[in-house]
Symmetry: C2
Subunit: 336 residues, 2 copies
């Protein structure tokens, strides 16, 4: 398929052609070959006017919290209502193991064969930044193909959760009804980013779930108390994070979950925060990739590579101040 | 004073000469003139063999927690025991207000006239990274001058607390006996970094203080539960963060505080963690300054400056993908 055929397939193809074109596009975007990268950027720019209509939903939670079961239940609920659902993932551990949290599609048995669902495992190479970039670009491909709900899943690891928060409209955290679990989430800065907290497996111990719900609600109130960096204008209606109970296994609470998502979307569209969040995300992402690119070019510079081992040794042993070392290395790269 | 005279004054001067040489050295280190920077780096390298003997103590806490009162009580306690105490500060807000948390020395009335104490306000220009760099270098000057306890103070703002943690041997957080106060600290990632938590103003409401102590102790236990990134070797003795009550105003609990600091230092020296922490801090700091330098050079590049406004506009309006934009700007800087 040529890039033009891929573009055409994504925008106008029949279901089978479109699925193949999406896979081709994502493979092209994941390629590290410079000529592929040029084609991929051209493809991305041509698809961009057709993106942005979907709701982007981030889902995170520690292993064992039941994310796959929840996403399958939600996905099937949505496709039954006529939505088209894409599920993507960011799993930095897959770059180490070569595996992927979504590699084994049997984990979402029914959703993976649903013609209105598209499941793509986490890219499995590169740094977290690289993995997140590929997921972000795959999200745009799915949107151009007309998927109107894009779910980005991540495992409970601090940095990848921040990456998912940075590319979605609404960020949901799944929790177990355990003491300590919410403290971990607060510690990692996950809780303060949550637009919605879902206490999963609520059916197993309803009392514990209700206790956890009260505790997290109170934590969220305390966390919000000392002022958000983004101050609200007078009279502006702001979203208050909600805490829901749910049983993904029994598909109980999925409808209420989706109602909260709708409420969130309506409010954030009306007050302009959804558009502003996307704009800020795009610019933050651009700078993040620039920083990564600058660092990579620095580390690959021959003069830096020649000097670095010695400088690191001197800094480690306390013979050279860290700030002086930084200036020496920067001068080596910039020098004639 | 020539750089040689400054160096000599710091290392061998009588008290009056030394104090003047320290002030000159720190002023030189804070200068942005390129020729000063060269002299400053040479001075720093010449002082470096005489540094590293002090205990570096980081102190943070929200405004109103009583940091100045505590540091004055601690400083006077230490100078009475024959220690020489330097007090430095990182206050990024001073770059905005032009003021400084330690600018008004009357806040530490007795300590500021103590011949064995040296108090230096926060540098008041530049980014947080720049301010932290100057404080870090000032710390080395104090150590070379024979100060054996260096206290680095910061106000309760997330990023500057992380900077102080990144340049000290032991990181202490002052808390008020308030519900919610500890949650805020957990949220900002302050609590998980704490080696010692001090509940100040314990005399005002002993019951609340005891409740807070129990609550924070339990939070620390839960936060530590899910495994630290640095895993301990088998049988290795590790420091367990402590929670103390104190009344800085009445100077009650200062001795117990200092005993904990001694215990910490002894353990961390014996298990090698103090040396390793300093080595890691230096290397992390070097990379932090390199990143900042790379970004500055990028933003000042004429081709980047020419292209940036247009690219930012296209990314904001969704016409250009963030990752494509990053590649375009990086190519502009690298191009012929």
């Amino acid at each position: 398929m040529t890039p033009e055929q891929i573009q055409h397939g994504i925008l106008q193809g029949n279901p089978a052609v479109q699925r193949r074109a999406m896979a081709k596009a994502i493979t092209l975007l994941e390629s590290t070959r410079p000529d592929h990268r040029v084609q991929a950027d051209a493809l991305l720019t041509s698809l961009l006017p057709h993106t942005g209509q979907a709701l982007r939903l981030g889902i995170s939670g520690v292993p064992g919290v039941g994310k796959s079961t929840f996403i399958e239940a939600l996905g099937l609920f949505l496709t039954r209502q006529g939505h088209r659902v894409a599920v993507l993932a960011i799993d930095p551990s897959s770059t180490v193991s070569g595996g992927s949290i979504l590699g084994d599609k049997t984990r979402m048995e029914q959703l993976s064969v649903d013609p209105n669902a598209y499941i793509r495992p986490s890219p499995s190479s590169g740094t977290l930044g690289g993995v997140a970039e590929k997921t972000r670009e795959a999200m745009l491909v799915c949107e151009a193909a007309g998927y109107d709900v894009v779910i980005v899943e991540t495992v409970g690891v601090g940095q990848s959760e921040i990456a998912v928060h940075g590319m979605t409209d609404m960020y949901c955290v799944l929790q177990l009804p355990n003491a300590g679990d919410d403290l971990q989430a607060i510690k990692k800065g996950v809780m303060e980013r949550a637009d919605l907290v879902v206490i999963n497996k609520a059916d197993i111990d309803p009392h514990a779930a209700t206790r956890a719900q009260a505790q997290i609600t109170s934590s969220l109130r305390l966390l919000g108390m000392h002022g958000h960096p983004e101050h609200a204008a007078h009279n502006e209606q702001l979203w208050q994070p909600r805490v829901l109970q749910l049983s993904a296994l029994k598909a109980e609470g999925v409808e209420q979950f989706w109602q909260s998502v709708q409420d969130f979307r309506q409010l954030q569209t009306a007050n302009g925060r959804l558009a502003r969040r996307r704009e800020q995300q795009s610019l933050a992402w651009m700078w993040e990739r620039i920083d990564a690119g600058l660092k990579q070019a620095f580390q690959q510079h021959p003069k830096v590579q020649a000097l670095l081992p010695q400088v690191v040794g001197e800094v480690s042993s306390g013979r050279l101040a860290a700030s002086t070392a930084a200036r020496q290395l920067l001068a080596a790269q910039a020098g004639p």
